[in-house]
């Protein structure tokens, strides 16, 4: 790599695949015949793969590759059977490595992690017994595409029949451990995946399955994670707080023996059938090397060094990072960081947007409305994939007899480029106005054939596919005659439907290329700045009289960054940016419109303002709940975190004078009324405790906790706190600390879980780690047509894969309105929201129409049943005409409305009743 931000030159080596990607149709014949087997790394060595293989069944692109380290042809110049077997001639043994040079403005590193290898730790027995597996291995065992087809069985059983009765999970293998490895950090995800695996294993098991999780602290700090863990507990999953001493295959071959000290201090021996080692995440040596070549600074754990306010920026300007490479994290957080890195990477180079765009020239579309149907049928052999089972010439001959069919032919590969060109030619020559392709699945190939129609000057919706491969030849290989008969049925159905197909049109709807951001805290300001820096005007709405939100009241991050100072800088940047218009003391009064075309009315202290915007980002934040226990509000020595941070900021002498300071965790969180973890409080308390100790080393500092959840790199501050002599006392929900007044301070009594004796401590200050509470977002939710969950957090479109989107198009979320989170995560999510918003804003128009629902106003009785069933809020009532209107921009084409309509006034274009009836009728005979 050479160059600097905005102008990098990157050299890449593309290793040979030995397969022509354009020719490979992923039929799998090569792998079937390949004689060379090795351990399948994707299945953690629990299964085998061939030398020619796809890494896993959902791989994209679904194309084979040859492993040149074991292929007999490539290593010994023998075999070559795949070349003879391949029906499309895709094998190329002469393939060579290719060198490429790219000129790019920004670089994003998303290199992921490797799972910790426990073979070096003798006491865990990994490698000594096949039923001791890593969590990755167990994940594969549970998977339907795994080595045992998703059947839970003992890996040691050759027949894969014997089911386990007892499974144990060992947490923190290769994490939070500096003795047996050098990973001091917490891997952040293992607690949750162990609970998930235990729950899933029980679901997979026919007999009652005993699952036990051996842990240090259960760190289920994500959205809805605590609920999931409590559910698992209720269903009988055992949680044992213990570090297991040794794992040994038992002498009598009865499973695996584990020795541990139970929470009561007694040594226990227990046998399990499978032991799962919950291995942590670490950065591979190759990633470290690459980071070193790029001069990127790494931390002690080999993660990219980032700061809270720039969570995806590396030490080299123009190079960004996301995912586990910046620190251990789960899927939603990785997805957020990925979008966030995309936003950061485009901020600096946004002036180059659209400069490399090429315009596609589309041939003019022929008007076929008044033509009689002239149907062309193209039947694919797919090499031997279809032709090997189905009598293709017979199907073609049959197709010629069907009404409306004026042309039919067979192809070796209908999808190949030369056939595509020929097809376009035939369509033009024969003046075809409907095309039926009898081949593979429309899910994979419809876009390709639609393109062929476009190239031939036909409307792309005049295509119908008959899936005679996936739904026929591949699944009825042993009954060729019946498969051929079924292929005729499928072709007949496609032909009869195609007769009724209409041209469908898409129109372009202009997009208002500006954004509304609701909420002027750290998340809202970050999103606004990111959008403005990329050239999009932003209206930033804040209910209070000043920007900054909760962050103004905070002290430092756990990495010791000064929060109020940084927030001040951010407020200046917002105020100085010409593209950002801030409305203070303003609330949203009314909202109209949809993605690309919103119209919002604000009530500001001076007047009402209306704003046109294409997208909206909701960043309304959350609040610190006021505790109703532990003498809060009744005694001056008791305060919340924000109040404590205020004193730290002011350098309050009260703190320096205090000899004894205590923190109580989970105040209001993780209880029946609010069964969620507030995520930030463990780190917050520990950081405050460390700060107190730094200011006054003689002070005694105590932390009363249930599980310490200093996830990821935060674990290091927990260790620092213990090294400094801060004392930690664990308590249960059943035996919470008792707080009584004691002079100017308070007295805390608790049953110590190690000593099993009551402990009484007098303190001068008691800080309560109070719950973070959702705001009342009722009216906002109604206006934007979004939903909130039972705890009040705004509900994203998908908890894992779409963490900043709503089900409503054009509206995005970030910050604590989504769930409690620390500043670095709020900022990452805010940039991610900006990035997602730009996918709409960067376009001057959006395409509307195609396969969407349509209303026949003459038939609509205005019953509004369709409005109830539409999942996308795409249908409105026209009160004047007393009929419904469908907003094609919001309609996703599911057709639920059409099924609900009692008068058949609504139809889904391309799937209307007449078309489906024609398919049903022709399925049963000509």
């Amino acid at each position: 790599m050479a160059g600097t931000q905005g102008n990098f030159k990157v050299s890449l080596t593309e290793n040979p695949r030995y397969i022509d990607m354009d020719k490979c149709i992923a039929c799998g014949l090569c792998a079937e015949k390949c004689p060379k087997k090795v351990d399948d790394e994707y299945n953690e060595g629990l299964g085998k793969r061939k030398a020619i293989y796809v890494p896993y069944s959902q791989a994209v692109p679904l194309k084979y590759a040859i492993d040149d380290t074991i292929c007999l042809k490539l290593t010994k110049n023998r075999c070559g059977i795949c070349e003879k077997t391949c029906p499309s001639g895709a094998i190329n043994f002469a393939d060579k490595a290719k060198e490429k040079t790219l000129n790019v403005g920004s670089i994003i590193l998303a290199m992921g992690f490797e799972s910790f290898d426990p073979s070096g730790i003798d006491s865990l027995g990994f490698g000594q017994h096949p039923d001791i597996v890593t969590s990755m291995g167990f994940e594969r065992i549970l998977s339907a595409t795994g080595p045992f087809g998703g059947h839970l069985c003992l890996p040691s059983d050759k027949d894969h029949e014997k089911a386990p009765k007892k499974i144990a999970w060992l947490q923190c293998v290769g994490s939070r451990d500096e003795n047996r490895c050098s990973n001091a950090y917490c891997s952040s995800v293992c607690c949750m995946y162990a609970v998930k695996q235990a729950v899933m294993a029980r679901e997979h098991s026919h007999d009652p399955l005993d699952c036990a999780i051996f842990y240090m602290d259960m760190r289920t700090h994500g959205k809805d994670f605590d609920r999931y863990m409590e559910g698992a507990k209720k269903n009988g999953v055992r949680f044992i707080q213990s570090r297991v001493h040794s794992v040994v295959p038992s002498q009598d071959h009865q499973g695996i023996e584990m020795r541990f000290i139970d929470p009561d201090g007694t040594i226990q021996n227990e046998n399990f059938d499978i032991v799962v080692l919950s291995t942590g995440l670490q950065i591979s040596a190759a990633c470290v090397d690459l980071a070193n070549t790029m001069n990127i600074e790494l931390d002690h754990g080999n993660f990219v060094k980032t700061d809270s306010f720039n969570p995806v920026s590396t030490s080299v300007p123009g190079i960004y990072a996301c995912g586990v490479f910046t620190g251990p994290k789960d899927i939603p957080q990785s997805v957020m960081e990925a979008s966030s890195a995309a936003a950061a990477a485009t901020e600096y180079i946004s002036s180059a947007r659209h400069t490399l765009t090429k315009e596609i020239v589309i041939p003019e579309e022929r008007d076929t409305e008044y033509e009689l149907p002239k149907i062309g049928v193209f039947v694919c052999n797919c090499g031997t994939n279809i032709g090997g089972v189905i009598d293709v010439p017979d199907v073609v001959a049959y197709a010629r007899t069907l009404p409306g069919v004026t042309y039919a032919e067979e192809n070796l590969f209908t999808c190949s480029q030369d056939t595509q060109d020929k097809m376009a030619q035939v369509i033009k020559e024969k003046k075809l106005n409907r095309v039926v392709v009898a081949a593979c699945s429309p899910k994979t190939h419809e876009p390709l054939f639609r393109q062929t129609l476009i190239n031939a000057g036909l409307n792309k919706h005049l295509l119908e596919m008959a899936n005679i491969r996936n739904h026929d030849s591949w699944v009825h290989a042993s009954e060729p005659a019946r498969a051929t008969k079924k292929a005729k049925h499928l072709v007949r159905m496609a032909v009869s439907k195609s007769m009724l197909l209409n041209s469908l049109f898409e129109t372009q709807l202009p997009v208002t290329q500006s954004a509304l951001v609701v909420g002027g805290g750290i998340a809202g300001m970050t999103a606004a700045l990111s959008l403005a820096r990329q050239g999009f005007p932003v209206s930033l709405v804040e209910r209070e009289q000043n920007l900054g939100g909760n962050a103004r009241k905070l002290f430092h991050t756990y990495m010791d960054e000064d929060i109020p100072g940084q927030v001040k800088t951010m407020i200046h940047q917002v105020n100085d940016h010409p593209m950002i218009h801030t409305y203070l003391g303003a609330v949203i009064e009314h909202l109209d419109g949809f993605v690309g075309n919103f119209n919002t009315t604000l009530a500001t202290p001076e007047s009402k303002v209306t704003i046109d915007h294409g997208v909206a980002i909701l960043a309304t934040g959350a609040v610190e709940a006021k505790p109703d226990e532990y003498l809060y509000g009744k005694h001056d020595a008791v305060m919340t975190h924000l109040e404590f941070d205020g004193r730290l900021n002011k350098k309050d002498p009260m703190l320096d004078a205090a000899e004894d300071i205590a923190f109580i965790q989970c105040v209001g969180s993780r209880e029946a009324a609010h069964p969620y973890c507030s995520k930030v409080c463990c780190t917050h308390s520990i950081h405050s405790a460390v700060e107190v100790k730094k200011r006054n080393p003689n002070a005694n500092v105590y932390i009363f906790y249930r599980d310490i959840r200093t996830y990821g790199k935060r674990e290091l501050i927990y260790k620092q706190a213990r090294d400094m002599g801060i004392l930690f006392f664990r308590y249960d929900l059943e035996s919470k600390p008792r707080v009584t007044p004691s002079g100017t301070g308070v007295n805390i009594r608790i049953l110590d879980h190690i000593l099993k004796m009551p402990v009484s401590i007098d303190v001068d200050i008691l800080c309560l780690a109070s719950r973070i509470q959702a705001r009342d977002n009722q009216s906002l939710a109604q206006a934007f047509k979004i939903t909130c969950d039972s705890d009040g957090w705004m509900l994203e479109a998908h908890q894992k894969l779409r963490p900043v989107d709503f089900a409503t198009d054009g509206v995005f979320l970030c910050g604590m309105a989504h769930y409690p989170k620390p500043i670095d995560e709020s900022i990452a999510q805010a940039k991610a929201a900006a990035s997602r918003a730009i996918t709409t804003l960067a376009r001057s128009s959006i395409s509307v129409g195609g396969v969407v629902s349509r209303v026949n106003e003459q038939l609509c009785s205005g019953c509004q049943g369709c409005i109830e069933v539409c999942p996308y809020n795409a249908i409105q009532m026209d009160e004047k005409k007393h009929v419904v209107n469908i907003n094609a921009a919001l309609c996703k084409g599911c057709g639920a409305c059409a099924a609900a309509c009692p008068s058949e006034a609504l139809t889904l274009e391309g799937f209307n009743n007449e078309q489906i009836y024609a398919q049903i009728k022709s399925a049963m005979g000509a």
């Binding site: 996936n470 084409g893 889904l908 049903i920």
Partner: protein, 68 residues
Amino acid sequence: MKTDIFEPKIIAFMCNWCTYGAADLAGVSRLEYPPNIIPVRVMCSASVSPHHILRAFQNNVDGVLVGG
């Protein structure tokens, strides 16, 4: 003596996003099943109305599967 074996004809309304994809995957995995089932691709199982099911039976179908 010739015996007629009853061969039911089953119409399967398959949601494009799940069942249809699953049926595709069954093909990729070469899972064999009897050819009596005839797929009709729909964009959502919610778009299958009672009319579609009744129409199938009116056309002498022996069974209907709605997958979504």
